[in-house]
């Protein structure tokens, strides 16, 4: 993932990034709550979540944002730099419940997807603009976004 470097010269507008599959389950949401410090019960307490008009427990927006950052930074490689990033939580996602202590029940798999929109130079910086998003199991983008990365040029 991080060992293979991509170069600006080799990137083309319209090119798709390899998608990153993700499975949100209840355990991941609890881990995220602890790691991020967001203890809103909307993300783990069914009784509270039922009062929020979202059809139950939902995946944290910030967790989906972190998936997208993993997706972009993994693609750009160690010598790439993330300069700009944005995403919007447009659609709600419901995590899978658990079958065992650490194995989720059957359910949707999400994918981080993206493509190159534009290549341009900003001074000395070789920039690539990306259109990105989290796609749910029904192939709907629940979390659209965009990013700009700076990539190394071939020597």
């Amino acid at each position: 993932m991080s060992n293979k470097q991509i170069y600006w010269d080799d990137v083309q507008a319209g090119q798709e990034l390899p998608s990153l599959p993700k499975i949100a389950d209840r355990v991941m949401l609890v881990k995220w709550a602890g790691a991020s410090g967001d203890f809103n019960p909307h993300h783990y307490d069914d009784t509270f979540a039922a009062t929020q008009g979202t059809g139950g427990v939902i995946v944290h927006g910030l967790l989906k944002h972190a998936w997208l950052i993993q997706f972009v930074t993994g693609w750009m490689g160690d010598r790439g730099t993330l300069k700009r990033f944005e995403c919007q939580y447009r659609g709600l996602d419901h995590p899978r419940t658990m079958k065992t202590m650490n194995e989720p029940d059957d359910g949707p798999t999400w994918h981080c997807i993206g493509k190159v929109v534009r290549k341009h130079m900003d001074g000395d910086a070789a920039c690539v603009d990306l259109e990105i998003g989290v796609e749910n199991g029904e192939k709907q983008i629940t979390t659209p976004g965009s990013a700009t990365v700076v990539l190394p040029k071939r020597p």
Binding site: D38, A66, I69
Partner: protein, 154 residues
């Protein structure tokens, strides 16, 4: 029509919050995301990389991440929305400009400022959108990133 109690919050700035960026917190954050990038966890690998040492995933500025204190301006704006009957709060989105990597041991300071409060007609009725921007500065006085976050109150 945005209630006066909310309108007054636009431009308000929270007192600075200090974030000590801990190695273990970086690791737990990357683990929770499911991101195995060795730059966040493998000292030898990171030392040999262009960064010369472990860094935090972009978007992590220390714990707690992305949850502003409810005691300040943002809490005031959200309380005002609740007082107006908009008691269901959702995170709406996030944007960043990144300037420098964040490293374990960094001490970052950020003061969230309420950039805007607007009203919008959503699928489930009217909603207020509260957005606030935080500039994170490190122990050397350098700007690390600007982060903007929005909440929907409906």
């Amino acid at each position: 029509m945005i209630p006066e109690e909310m309108h007054q919050c636009i431009g308000m700035v929270d007192p600075p919050t200090v974030y000590e960026v801990e190695r273990g917190a970086i690791r737990r954050y990357a683990d929770a995301v499911g991101d195995n990038n060795p730059l966040y966890r493998d000292e030898a690998y990171a030392a040999a990389s262009t960064y010369g040492g472990i860094i935090a995933p972009p978007g992590f500025f220390g714990w707690p991440a992305g949850t502003p204190s409810m005691g300040g301006a943002i809490g005031k704006a959200i309380t005002a929305a609740m007082n107006a009957g908009y008691f269901r709060i959702l995170d709406a989105g996030k944007s960043y400009e990144f300037f420098l990597p964040v490293r374990p041991g960094d001490v970052l300071v950020g003061s969230p400022k309420i950039a805007d409060i607007s009203e919008k007609e959503g699928k489930s009725g009217p909603m207020y959108i509260i957005s606030f921007t935080t500039t994170f500065t490190n122990q050397n006085g350098a700007t690390v990133a600007n982060a903007t976050q929005s909440f929907i109150c409906r």
